[in-house]
């Protein structure tokens, strides 16, 4: 069991948990946390790949940095939308957000 496989297993499990979280939660903030967990899983995989497969190519690390910015960005915009919605409708429960019903 090399560290690589350990890391990949952890990454996969984190991804699964994040996916479960995203699909099961009713609140916008919880869904965003689910996404954060999924991204975390992805980062673990990335670092593992960089460390064990291509340490010479720093693009891997750069990729991780990019994923970090994505996490930050995703949270910022998510909360912006959340605030807008909260101010407009008084709650961010996803069950009530059915305005786009076809």
């Amino acid at each position: 069991m090399t560290t690589l496989t350990v890391a990949l297993v952890v990454g996969a499990i984190l991804f699964g948990i994040g996916l479960y979280g995203v699909l099961s939660q009713t609140n916008l903030v919880m869904i965003m946390m689910g996404v954060e967990v999924m991204l975390g899983g992805a980062m673990v995989n990335l670092v593992a790949f960089w460390r064990f497969l291509h340490p010479e190519a720093y693009a891997g690390q750069m990729f991780v940095l990019i994923v970090m910015t994505v996490m930050a960005l995703e949270m910022a915009v998510g909360f912006g939308v959340g605030t807008g919605r909260f101010r407009a409708k008084g709650s961010v429960e996803m069950e009530e957000a059915q305005d786009l019903k076809g």
Partner: protein, 606 residues
């Protein structure tokens, strides 16, 4: 040049003045005719001296109107002027008791001017115009008593007869101008070959129409419905002469073939018209038929190759026939009608007029000292010496015989029998006119030789045989005419001749009724085509409706069905889009899984 124009302008101005002024109308008309006569005689004297005055008026572009005074035209102008003046004098007396004098005298003056223009015309365009004008004025004058029944119709018939014949003149003129490029008559006469033949025949057609030759002579008999001065002037000396004048002037153009046709036509007309005259019961209609017969003789002379003889006879006949008509006018006033039955014994009642009538009748028949004898001899000589003598000579003799017959018949009927006659007013004016013409009829024979040398043409040689033969035939005719009544003479022909030889229903039967029938047939055809087109139209409409129906039901139905199925599909898909965020996230996850699977398959597959 001035005298030339004065001949025409005189009566024209008179007619122009009569219409607005409307007072002193006879005086004005006489003044116009007088001026024309004086200037015509002056012109004749100058032409005799050798002058050839001519005038040129601006006409169509490149085709100026010309007036020329050749010996031939000068003589004719003088003759027309003399007859015109004397008839005008007679008319003053004759029309005294009538209404509408202005219309009458204006028409008469206008006619004289148009006739002079025709005679003096130097080019075809002016001649054609004048030709139409005299036709028009004859229509006006014949129709003078238009309120009487049948007068209007006969005026129209006369006009239509001549008009349809005039077309021949038009075509001839076109052919000539097309060939020579100029409308001057003297220059166009050099044309020869096929064009000459065609032009000649068409000219003959026009002349036949105007001079009332065989097929087209019906209108002259009906034209007698007009007043007697009109008949005297137009239908004896001038208008009817236009056809002969035309052929005489165009003689150099006519090739031998055409001459033969002219001769035969002339002879035929002489026989037919003579027989018709013999069978007439109306004095004026008798004289009219004799006119067309005499013109037949003239055409025969032209056909024989001697237009001079025709000219002589034309001049003599003008005087004789107008005198006879004026006499008939007097008798008409005396008995109030021109039927021979009514006029029986009028001659004995009015001895002086009867005497004049007898002199001109005998002159017409060709009794020696009078002018008729000389001109008829010229024609007989011409027919005998022509190249077709065996064909033309008997016709000429027969013509002379018939003339003698109907003259004698007329005299007999006028002399025997009783009838009361009313007093005739205006006899002085009528008498003057009548005597002038009668004297001319008698004396003109002497004037013929100077005219011949004026024209510079040799009259046909008269052998003693021919002269004697002519005289004998004339006397036999007179005797028979006096002795036996007409139906005994004509025998079987009398019925036919009475109606003027309306062969096959005459003009109406031959021309009008078939034309109408043809028109009706055309109308029926047109109506048929119209119905056909309508049928096609409605068929097209039916096809259009059918296609619209199929289009509506078929294609539209299909599209609507397509639309509805798309809508149903859309509805079913709508349930997918719940708007619930978590549902859509689930969809996203499923989508991701699909992509992932594809990638795996792709990578494995590679």
């Amino acid at each position: 040049m001035i005298t030339l124009t004065l001949i025409i302008l005189g009566p024209l101005v008179a007619a122009a003045l009569i219409l607005p002024i409307r007072r002193g109308v006879p005086a004005l008309a006489l003044f116009g005719a007088g001026v024309s006569l004086a200037s015509a005689l002056a012109l004749l004297s100058r032409v005799a001296v050798g002058a050839r005055p001519s005038a040129e008026l601006p006409g169509l572009p490149g085709l100026p109107l010309r007036l020329t005074a050749e010996p031939l035209t000068a003589v004719l102008a003088a003759a027309a002027a003399v007859v015109g003046f004397s008839v005008m004098v007679y008319a003053v007396g004759y029309m005294r008791s009538e209404a509408g004098l202005t219309r009458f005298f204006a028409g008469m003056s206008f006619f004289v001017a148009a006739m002079q223009a025709l005679v003096l015309a130097g080019d075809w365009v002016l001649l054609l115009a004048a030709w139409e004008l005299i036709g028009f004025s004859s229509y006006l004058l014949i129709g003078f008593w238009f309120e009487r029944p049948g007068v209007g119709q006969s005026a129209t018939r006369a006009f239509l007869y001549t008009r349809s014949a005039d077309l021949g003149l038009y075509v001839a003129v076109f052919v000539l101008i097309a060939h020579t490029g100029t409308s001057e008559i003297s220059r166009t006469l050099e044309v020869n070959g096929a064009a000459a033949v065609a032009a000649g025949l068409f000219l003959l057609l026009a002349a036949a129409g105007k001079s009332a030759q065989t097929p087209l002579h019906g209108w002259l008999l009906d034209a007698m419905a007009g007043p007697t001065p009109v008949s005297a002037l137009l239908h004896s000396a001038t208008l009817v002469a236009a056809g002969a004048i035309l052929l005489i002037r165009a003689f150099p153009l006519l090739p031998p073939a055409v001459l033969v046709v002219v001769g035969v036509l002339g002879g035929l007309t002489t026989l037919v018209a003579g027989a018709t005259a013999l069978a007439q019961r109306d004095l004026k209609r008798l004289l009219a038929a004799s006119t067309s017969s005499q013109y037949g003789l003239m055409l025969l002379a032209i056909g024989a190759g001697f237009p001079v003889a025709a000219l002589f006879h034309l001049l003599a006949h003008a005087a004789m026939k107008s005198a006879l008509f004026l006499g008939a006018g007097v008798f008409q006033h005396a008995r109030g009608s021109t039927q021979l039955a009514d006029l029986e014994g009028v001659g004995r009642a009015r001895r002086l007029t009867f005497f004049g009538f007898v002199v001109s009748g005998l002159a017409l028949a060709g009794v020696p000292p009078l002018s008729g004898f000389w001109s008829k001899d010229a024609i007989l000589a011409a027919s005998f010496s022509s190249s077709y003598a065996p064909l033309l000579a008997p016709l000429a003799l027969a013509g002379t015989l018939l003339t003698g017959l109907y003259v004698a018949r007329a005299l007999r009927l006028l002399w025997h029998g009783e009838g009361e006659s009313e007093p005739v007013s205006g006899t002085r004016w009528m008498g003057v006119g009548f005597t002038v013409l009668t004297v001319l009829a008698a004396v003109l024979g002497l004037a013929l030789p100077p005219v011949a040398d004026l024209l510079g043409i040799e009259p046909p040689g008269e052998t003693l045989l021919v002269v004697a033969l002519g005289l004998v035939v004339a006397l036999i005719g007179l005797a028979l005419g006096w002795a036996f009544p007409a139906d005994r003479l004509l025998g079987p022909l009398s019925g036919l001749a009475g109606t003027g030889f309306r062969v096959g229903g005459g003009f109406d039967g031959l021309v009008v009724r078939p034309a109408l029938a043809f028109a009706r047939a055309l109308d029926a055809l047109d109506r048929g085509i119209h119905a056909g087109v309508l049928a096609v139209g409605s068929a097209a409409l039916a096809v259009a409706n059918a296609s619209r129906a199929t289009d509506e039901k078929g294609i539209d139905g299909l599209i609507v069905a397509l639309g509805r199925s798309a809508r149903r599909l859309g509805n079913r898909a709508r349930t997918l889009q719940t708007g619930l965020v978590h549902k859509e996230l689930l969809l996203a996850a499923v989508g991701g899984a699909l992509v992932f699977a594809l990638l795996i398959v792709g990578s494995i597959g590679l």
